[in-house]
C-alpha cells in the first residue's frame, strides 16, 4: 500500500490536464485491480510456516515465503537442510525451545509480532517461544495471561537478563564507571527480589529483538585488532585467538557464532548441560550458509533479475564478498539502482530511495561513537556514512552507536518516563573520574544501556550495535527495542532525530527502498 500512496503522490506532481488525468485514472484503476488480484493470490498462498522444534521438516535449497509485501527468499547455499535431529531445530534445553523458535526462516531468520500473535492464538500461549524465562515480561508473572507476554506480543521483545556488574570471562566482576538505579519497572522484573537488581544474583533485565541468524558472513567479517571507536583491543575468538568483528548481538557481548550458540542454549533454552562441540559446529554451519532477502515485491515484481539492481535477492548475498566498504559513489552499499530510474512508478521510487540513502546529506549530531570518534559534531553526511558495509548496511567497524533510540530525550518511548512506557527506565550516574556520555553528561535516563551493560563504560550508555537491513519486510517491528511497527516509523524516527526535513515523497521513497532489501 505504500507504493500506492507513492503512485498517487507522484501523479500530483504532473501537469494538470483533463485528458491526461482521465488516462491516468484508468491506468491507476487497472494497476490497482491487478495489484489487488496479486495481493489476493499472495494472501491465498500466504501460510504462516512456523517451524516447530523437532518437526523433522526438510528445508529446500531455496524457499520463498509470501506476505502482503511480496516474497522473502531464503537460500540454503549448502543445499537442502534436513532438520531431523539437527541441533538448530531440536530442543537442547529444558523448556522445549530450539534455536528455530526465535529464528524462523519465514520471518527472515528472526521473528515478527504478526507471527508471534498467530502463534499465541494457535497454541493458546503454550508454544515454547513464550517460555516464562524470557518469553514473558518476567518469569514471576502469571504465564497464562497474554498481558504477561505483552512485550513479546506487541514489540517482539525477549527478556535479556544480564549480570550486574558485568563479568569477565573468568567470572570476576569488571570495573564499572557508573551506578544504575531502576526508576520505572513496568514488568516488575528489575525490582523483583528474585530476578532483579537486588536479588541474590544482581541482574538487569532489558528487552530486545532477536537478530536475523542469516547473512552472517557479513556480520562476522571485518575484525580488526584495535576497535576504531574505542581505541582498545577487540575481543578475540577464543578458539582461533583472532580479533572478531564485534557486530554480533545488540551489545556485542559474544565474540563468535560458537560462543553465541552456547550462550543461547544455556540461556534461552535453559539447558542444564552444555551442548556438544559437534552440535555447536552444526548450528554454526547452518547459520553460516543461510541467506535471506526480499526476493519479490508486490509492486516491484521480481527483484533479482538480470539487468536490475545487482545487490537484491539472496543469490547476490551468497556471491558477494563480505567486509567491503560501500560508503562511496562508485560501488555503493547495496549496488547501483540506476537501471530502475524512470522504469516505472514503484521502481523509480525505490531508485530515488537508494539515492537518498547514499547521497541525501543531513546533519548527524550527538550520536556517540559516530560524532565522538574524531569525525566532529555535527557531521554533514548521509545514511551510508554509518550504514556503510556492502550488502547489509551495518557498520564495517565494530558497530555500536548511540543513535538515540533508548536514551532520554530522543528515545522512542513517550516523551517523559513518567508516562506509559512499556519498558523499564534506568537512571545511570557516571563516576566523577570517568569520561561522561559525550552528549548526555553524567546522569542519563535510558530504557536500555546497551553496550554499557557489557563494557561498564559511561560513554557506551545507549549504544546499540547496528543491525543488518535485509529481509526487513518480513520481520517487523524494528529497532532493537521493537518500537517501530513499520518502516515508516523507522524513517520518521530518523527524520525527527536528525531533523532531516524529508518530504513525504522522500519518506515514501526511502520506505520503498528499504522494503526491497
Amino acid at each position: 500500500m505504500t507504493g500506492w500512496v507513492g503512485l498517487c503522490y507522484l501523479y500530483e506532481r504532473q501537469p494538470q490536464n483533463i485528458m491526461r488525468r482521465l488516462f491516468f485514472i484508468a491506468i491507476v484503476v487497472l494497476v490497482f485491480g491487478i495489484a489487488l488480484t496479486l495481493s489476493a493470490q499472495y494472501q491465498d498462498r500466504f501460510k504462516i510456516t512456523w517451524i516447530e522444534p523437532g518437526s523433522g521438516a526438510l528445508l529446500p535449497e531455496f524457499d520463498a515465503f509470501d506476505s502482503v509485501e511480496g516474497t522473502l527468499g531464503v537460500l540454503n547455499a549448502s543445499g537442502p537442510v534436513n532438520t531431523e535431529g539437527h541441533p538448530f531445530f531440536t530442543p537442547l534445553g529444558t523448556n522445549g525451545r530450539a534455536c528455530v523458535n526465535c529464528h524462523q526462516p519465514t520471518y527472515a531468520m528472526s521473528v515478527s509480532t504478526a507471527g508471534l500473535l498467530e502463534r499465541w492464538r494457535t497454541t493458546d500461549g503454550k508454544d515454547p517461544v513464550f517460555a516464562a524465562f524470557d518469553g514473558s515480561n518476567c518469569p514471576g508473572l502469571p504465564q497464562e495471561k497474554e498481558s504477561s507476554h505483552s512485550l513479546l506480543l506487541k514489540r517482539g521483545l525477549f527478556r535479556i537478563p544480564l549480570p550486574w556488574p558485568p563479568k569477565n570471562a573468568d567470572g570476576s566482576a569488571k570495573p564499572v564507571e557508573f551506578t544504575i538505579e531502576v526508576v520505572r519497572d513496568p514488568t516488575g522484573c528489575n525490582t523483583s527480589r528474585e530476578f532483579g537488581l537486588k536479588s541474590a544474583e544482581p541482574t538487569i533485565s532489558v528487552y530486545r529483538r532477536p537478530r536475523p541468524a542469516a547473512n552472517l558472513k557479513y556480520v562476522t567479517s571485518g575484525g580488526q585488532p584495535i576497535v576504531l571507536k574505542t581505541g582498545t583491543l577487540a575481543d578475540v575468538d577464543p578458539e582461533t585467538g583472532k580479533p572478531v568483528s564485534m557486530n554480533l548481538m545488540t551489545d556485542a557481548r559474544e565474540p563468535s557464532l560458537k560462543t553465541q550458540a552456547v550462550s543461547a542454549i544455556m540461556g534461552h533454552e535453559q539447558a542444564r548441560v552444555a551442548p556438544s562441540d559437534p552440535q555447536i559446529q552444526k548450528i554454526v554451519e547452518y547459520e553460516s550458509q543461510v541467506y535471506v532477502a526480499q526476493q519479490a515485491h508486490i509492486f516491484g515484481g521480481p527483484l533479482a533479475v538480470a539487468g536490475g539492481p545487482p545487490g537484491l535477492g539472496v543469490a547476490a548475498l551468497r556471491d558477494h564478498r563480505a567486509g567491503v566498504l560501500g560508503d562511496n559513489d562508485y560501488d555503493p552499499v547495496f549496488g547501483s539502482f540506476s537501471s530502475w530510474k524512470g522504469n516505472d512508478y514503484y521502481r523509480s521510487s525505490v531508485a530515488r530511495g537508494a539515492d537518498i540513502f547514499m547521497f541525501r546529506q543531513f546533519w548527524l549530531r550527538d550520536a556517540a561513537h559516530i560524532n565522538s570518534i574524531g569525525l566532529g559534531n555535527p557531521l554533514k553526511r548521509t545514511c551510508a556514512t554509518c550504514h556503510n558495509a556492502q550488502m547489509t548496511g551495518q557498520d564495517l567497524s565494530a558497530g555500536w552507536v548511540d543513535v538515540g533510540t533508548t536514551n532520554y530525550p530522543t528515545w522512542t518511548e513517550p516523551a517523559t518516563w513518567a508516562d506509559s512506557s512499556e519498558l523499564p527506565v534506568f537512571k545511570i550516574t557516571c563516576a566523577r573520574d570517568a569520561d561522561p556520555h559525550p552528549y548526555l553528561g553524567r546522569v542519563i535516563y535510558t530504557t536500555d544501556p546497551g553496550r554499557a551493560l557489557i563494557s561498564g563504560r559511561c560513554v557506551d550508555v545507549g549504544s546499540i550495535v547496528m543491525q543488518q537491513l535485509r529481509g526487513l519486510a518480513a520481520r517487523a517491528p524494528y529497532f532493537a527495542n521493537g518500537s517501530a511497527k513499520t518502516l515508516r516509523e523507522v524513517v520518521d524516527f530518523y527524520d525527527r532525530r536528525f531533523d532531516m526535513k524529508l518530504t513525504d515523497e522522500e519518506k515514501e521513497d526511502l520506505i520503498n527502498f528499504l522494503g526491497v532489501l
Binding site: P225, I226, L228, T230, G231, T232, L233, L325, D327, N328, D329, Y330, P332, M358, F359, Q361, W363, R365, D366, N371, S372, I373, G374, L375, G376, N377, P378, L379, K380, R381, T382, A384, T385, D433, D435, P436, H437, P438, Y439, L440, G441
Partner: protein, 248 residues
C-alpha cells in the same frame, strides 16, 4: 594609518601561538562544514570536516575545545571560512558537556570551505592499498603516541603508531619494549595553566601496554611519570604522550 596598524598587527601576529579554550563554531558551506573558534574577539579557522583517517579531528558542539595552534606566518594569507587559519593546530575536545556550545552558522555566499579530499556525501576516492611506503627500521626505535588534552582515547593515527611499534617489536624479536606514559600542562595565551588529571600518565601507559600485549608483544616494561610535564605555550601538545621504545 589603518594600513600601518594592520602591518603592525600582522607583524605582532606573525608566527604567534594561540592557546585558548572556547566554544567551537560550525559554519556550513556549499560543501563540507568549517570549524572555527573565537578568542578575544577574533575568529580562528581550525579545519574542515574530513575523514577518520585525517590528521585533523574537528571539535564538537556541546563541548568546549582547547585550541593550540600557530597563526599562519604569511601576514597576507587570506582568511579561511571567515577565520584566521591556525596551522599546525591541535584540537582537544573537553569532556564535560556544555550545552551553550551550540553555534551552527548557515552557509553564506562568498564563504567557501577549502577543497576537501572527501565531500559531505559518500567518498569518490577509490581506496588503493599503499605500496608499503614505510622505511625499513633497524636497531633501537622510539614511537610516540600523542593524545588530546586530558584524554586517553587512541585516535586513528595513534592506532597506526601502536600497530607499527608492535609489528617492529615482533619483527626483531625485541628483548625490551619500554612503555612510558606522561601527562602534561598547557600554558594558555592568557597565562593560565591547564594541567591534565592525575593518574592519566599511568592510564595511558597501561592502555598502550595492553594493546601491545594484545598485538603479540610480550616483553613490555611499563612506567609512568605522574608529575605533569611543564607547559611553554608553544609545544605543549607534543608532551601529552606515551613513548614506546623498542630495543633488540
Amino acid at each position: 594609518m589603518r594600513f600601518g596598524l594592520f602591518i603592525l598587527g600582522a607583524l605582532v601576529a606573525l608566527g604567534q601561538q594561540r592557546s585558548f579554550v572556547s566554544c567551537p563554531i560550525v559554519r556550513d558551506t556549499k560543501t563540507v562544514p568549517c570549524f572555527l573558534a573565537e578568542y578575544e574577539g577574533e575568529l580562528y579557522y581550525l579545519g574542515i570536516q574530513q575523514d577518520i583517517t585525517s590528521a585533523f579531528h574537528p571539535p564538537q558542539l556541546k563541548h568546549e575545545v582547547l585550541v593550540e595552534g600557530r597563526i599562519a606566518s604569511d601576514p597576507g594569507a587570506p582568511r579561511v571560512c571567515g577565520g584566521i587559519p591556525l596551522q599546525p593546530v591541535s584540537i582537544s575536545v573537553l569532556k564535560e558537556v556544555n550545552l551553550s556550545c551550540n553555534t551552527l552558522l548557515p552557509a553564506e555566499p562568498g564563504i567557501d570551505a577549502p577543497a576537501a579530499p572527501r565531500g559531505p556525501g559518500p567518498s569518490s576516492l577509490h581506496r588503493t592499498e599503499a605500496a608499503n611506503p614505510r622505511k625499513t627500521l633497524t636497531g633501537r626505535q622510539e614511537f610516540t603516541v600523542l593524545y588530546a588534552f586530558n584524554d586517553d582515547y587512541l585516535e586513528f593515527a595513534a592506532n597506526a603508531v601502536v600497530t607499527e611499534a608492535a609489528a617492529y617489536a615482533k619483527q626483531i624479536g625485541a628483548s625490551n619494549v619500554k612503555v612510558s606514559g606522561y601527562r602534561a600542562t598547557t600554558l594558555l595565551s592568557n597565562g593560565d595553566r591547564l594541567v591534565e588529571k592525575a593518574g592519566l600518565a599511568e592510564k595511558r601507559a597501561q592502555n598502550i601496554a595492553t594493546l601491545l600485549r594484545g598485538l603479540g608483544v610480550s616483553s613490555t616494561v611499563v612506567e609512568s611519570k605522574n608529575e605533569p610535564e611543564p607547559g611553554d605555550g608553544q609545544t605543549d601538545p607534543s608532551r601529552r604522550r606515551v613513548t614506546i621504545v623498542v630495543a633488540p
